[in-house]
Symmetry: C2
Subunit: 335 residues, 2 copies
């Protein structure tokens, strides 16, 4: 597994806590696990395009944009800072850094996704919104849905006519609920069947291997192109266009395009896909949360309340540990 911030991965949570807190943190004075805050702009991210209406802030204002020119060194968004981004950003609920300055272990949450999957987009955006609230170590794991389906013998859900009919409405409603601009119509099932996301996912894998700070905006732009605008993402020129939207220089984009036929990129995508399958995935999105020394698969974009309730419990456990530690220090200081 290509771990980018191994030191914050597993941690040492207390033994045998109850798996889940009372639903929605009842009695604990906690907010409901899902607050559905609008997506926050990453601190140092530069945008080449005007923000979409759904990306506007809570008060209807546009997100702050820093237009310091297209080239030059770009500070990576918080996520990409190995092991410290979100903690440094300061979370309302997270313990952040300990008294001695060392970062406390955060729950590692991996999102396996493919941009051909609309539900993956929903999961991606919700996790992006909640990573600071839940103070999780969120890792994006671009994988290939086609490979997962083939390996597990799963069939696209829309192959059942009644389910396809339902999915049309479900995706629309879920997209509206989560405020993610997925556009879906009946033709989309044919469109998906006729589309291979292999090239796009290799392109995304290539950025993950070279400039991972672009992984999040690049993935989002692929979804916007394919699921909001209904435009092709398979042709080289279209991948370059997406890269431009995500703020990549044309040199970097061209380099990625060359990389997608390299064994290194192909193998990396294959390995990530196999890892998802090893975790038990049979479709996407597949969310894998690591706590209590185990991995826990949450399939789909409809188990995020459940994931949230587990994570909030982890935070509580860590807070209690920290309080104990502080109390011990105070006792030894004054006794």
């Amino acid at each position: 597994m290509p771990a980018r911030s191994a030191e914050s991965a597993a941690g040492s949570p207390p033994r045998e806590p109850p798996l889940l807190p009372p639903p929605h943190g009842e009695g604990l004075g906690l907010p409901p696990p899902l607050l559905f805050l609008p997506s926050r702009p990453s601190a140092g991210r530069r945008r080449q395009r005007a923000p979409h209406s759904w990306e506007r802030g809570r008060g209807g204002k546009e997100l702050t944009r820093r237009e310091e020119g297209r080239k030059g060194s770009r500070p990576p968004p918080p996520l990409a800072r190995p092991g410290g981004g979100a903690a440094a950003a300061g979370s309302r609920w997270g313990a952040g850094a300990g008294r001695d300055g060392t970062a406390m272990a955060r729950t590692l949450v991996e999102l396996f996704y493919d941009v051909v999957s609309p539900y993956s987009w929903l999961g991606f955006e919700v996790l992006c919104r909640y990573r600071h609230i839940w103070n999780i170590d969120l890792r994006f794991r671009p994988a290939f849905l086609g490979g997962i389906m083939q390996a597990t013998g799963n069939k696209p859900p829309a192959m059942l006519p009644k389910r396809a009919e339902y999915m049309l409405k479900d995706v629309k409603r879920m997209a509206k609920y989560y405020q993610v601009p997925v556009q879906i119509s009946k033709d989309d099932f044919q469109r998906i069947t006729g589309t291979s996301s292999l090239g796009a996912m290799r392109f995304i894998t290539a950025i993950d291997m070279t400039q991972p700070q672009y992984l999040e905006p690049l993935s989002r732009e692929f979804w916007i192109r394919f699921w909001s605008k209904h435009e092709d993402i398979g042709q080289p020129e279209n991948m370059l266009a997406v890269a431009g939207q995500a703020g990549l220089s044309s040199e970097l984009s061209q380099k990625l395009l060359e990389m997608i036929s390299s064994p290194a990129v192909k193998n990396r995508l294959k390995e990530t896909t196999e890892e998802a399958i090893k975790y038990g995935a049979f479709g996407m999105p597949a969310v894998v949360a690591h706590f209590n020394g185990e991995h826990h698969l949450f399939f789909g974009s409809d188990r995020l309340e459940l994931l949230g309730s587990v994570i909030v419990l982890q935070i509580l456990m860590l807070a209690v540990l920290l309080m104990d530690e502080t109390a011990d220090r105070n006792v030894s200081q004054y006794s």
Copy 2:
């Protein structure tokens, strides 16, 4: 469609409201759609068995039990009162009755379920908890899952090995999260395949046709027997035992047992199943909410936050209408 309280069905909500409110009623001062309150005891319901630990009240106390003897006329639980139960019970969020004493139209929500389905049990319990908070007209629609699967060509999800493996964990987690005592183990998938719920669902249909006030407790007892205790629900003596647990007299239970081979009961179950399919169901639970003059299918037990957000919007719309009406009256009274 065997409508029991047609007058409270459709209503006349305003034209073209936005489909969904801001997520979780943000900015509206509303509580999050799902509060996961423990199940409340029905006012007049009598229990023949000791309540399970998961049915205890919030403070850990047992639910109030009224032990006024096993026989005699039993007041129906609020749900069974056509068109007025929940409104009369007084909901924190519901508009209840209008100023002139007429009940305001409530959103009709139908739950199509089969006791062989553990996710149906989750959906059933969550809707039971929320019907007063959402002030919905909740209708239980016992149907036959086998019939739906056959008609739509759907296969049990656990037939895919990886999905079966996942479902084991998912049902466990969801049951804990929702505080419903589903017990599931690997053998259960075989157990389901080897079980026909046809007899049980006909038995439940028979109570719906004769003494519908027992529909809720009887259905629950079937789930408890099959999914908590892992005991058979197909044999006549076992159906009688379940009926006894639900508080039915032995005369009534015996009558139901005779009814399950009658064409009337068989046809009613068939009709309900066909109705679910007509609404677009391809599995269970299938929740059908009626608003804006249309029906909206929510499949599974994992779209209830979404359903809640829609219903809360309906309540708001009705409240605004009521305020307008009151203002008009005041104007005409004093001018």
